[in-house]
Symmetry: C2
Subunit: 234 residues, 2 copies
């Protein structure tokens, strides 16, 4: 089912939040890049198109990585199969660490922030997107409908109860972790980063012209996108 | 009606978000402090109790300031009546600028951030609380109830439609301004600040023991509280 999604078929251009994510990315020219939760490798290949010198993509799913490898013909992209939590690299190995919609599957986000900080060079960038805390709060992760099936509003509940959410993604049961916005931001800050920008996914005028059904995306934020910097000389 | 609220009668200790706000405050000893939207002056007097050398409180409401002056016997606290938007001070006049639950009445938050940045000394602190974007999104600013009046969940809608919300506060119609979380944070960052901490109001175990009815406060965040710093030597 995941393979049929627009983001899987059309790659980055099929992912609604990509324009926002892309805007936060630094210049990849001559940079070493790590992609946490690389999936089919779209971001890895994009980084190379933008002249990154070396890219490492990490993902837990061998299936995903198989597809990623099939799509990739580039010796300077390396795919590693492992849980994101288990990554281990050299200190200050990367200029840029990115992650798209992976961290809400991770229990211990602070640990990831600490590792990313360690593996980034001073001045390096950390850009990631996650499902928005408003989206993950209820296990249902769905709109509230009236009897005719009309979307009345987005319901929020259990916001301060952080932790596991057993939820349905397409046809499969998936375990996600809900974190409050403040936890997410403070984990990044306390790891040592400066937050450079915070974005929330939305449907632009252009997107609404192509797909009018996306208008509901502006009724509540689905994704949170952030860029942070490892401060120079700390 | 406002005068009867716990926060008006008991002061800071009657305001649920005060422990979180207090935790973010810097040492006030020998500091000059500006309080934007000072209301009855509780925070101004607190700053002086903590040995601030000088405190200026600004509020639009002459009624509020009258009460503030009645409560205050301290020549080192000065109250000014004006819209927060109109403040004008010397560059680098203050060590600390605070604001409690006032900025959601202000249309142009970026302008405030720019001014606060200008009036703060390098290394100075900016700590403020606002109604949470999740709280201000719908004009109703209320729970969604079933037919028996049970609170089903907190409804979110119109999130990306920033701007005016005509809403009811106690018995009065009040105009507030809804801003997304990302707008709020980026306004602070783009003014030049480093974000030091982001908090969301919640009911602690201790508060729940005193007032079990506060448990709903953990179902959705009502307030957003932030501390930011004017970076030294920029």
């Amino acid at each position: 089912e995941y393979k049929k999604m627009s983001r899987s078929v059309d790659g980055l251009e099929g992912a609604g939040e990509w324009p926002i994510f892309k805007e936060l990315l630094p210049d990849f020219n001559h940079k070493t890049v790590l992609d946490l939760g690389c999936g089919f490798g779209w971001h890895c290949r994009y980084a190379r198109e933008q002249h990154a010198t070396q890219v490492i993509g990490v993902d837990l799913s061998e299936k995903m990585l198989k597809t990623a490898r099939n799509y990739t013909n580039d010796p300077l992209i390396k795919y590693l199969r492992m849980p994101i939590e288990d990554i281990h690299f050299k200190e200050e190995q990367f200029d840029v660490v990115i992650s798209s919609l992976a961290f809400h599957y991770i229990k211990d986000f602070r640990n990831i922030c600490d590792k990313v900080y360690q593996y980034l060079k001073p001045g390096g960038s950390f850009i990631f997107s996650v499902e928005h805390p408003i989206f993950t709060a209820r296990a249902e992760q769905d709109w509230y409908y009236d009897e005719e099936g009309v979307r009345l509003h987005w319901p929020v509940d259990h916001y301060q109860s952080e932790g596991m959410r057993e939820t349905l993604f397409l046809t499969e049961n998936v375990v996600k972790y809900h974190r409050t916005l403040s936890s997410c931001m403070n984990d990044v800050i306390q790891a040592g980063f400066n937050i450079k920008a915070v974005k929330e996914s939305l449907a632009t005028e252009e997107m609404l012209q192509d797909s009018p059904e996306m208008k509901d995306e502006n009724r509540r934020p689905m994704f949170l996108i952030m860029s942070a910097e490892k401060v120079n000389g700390e």
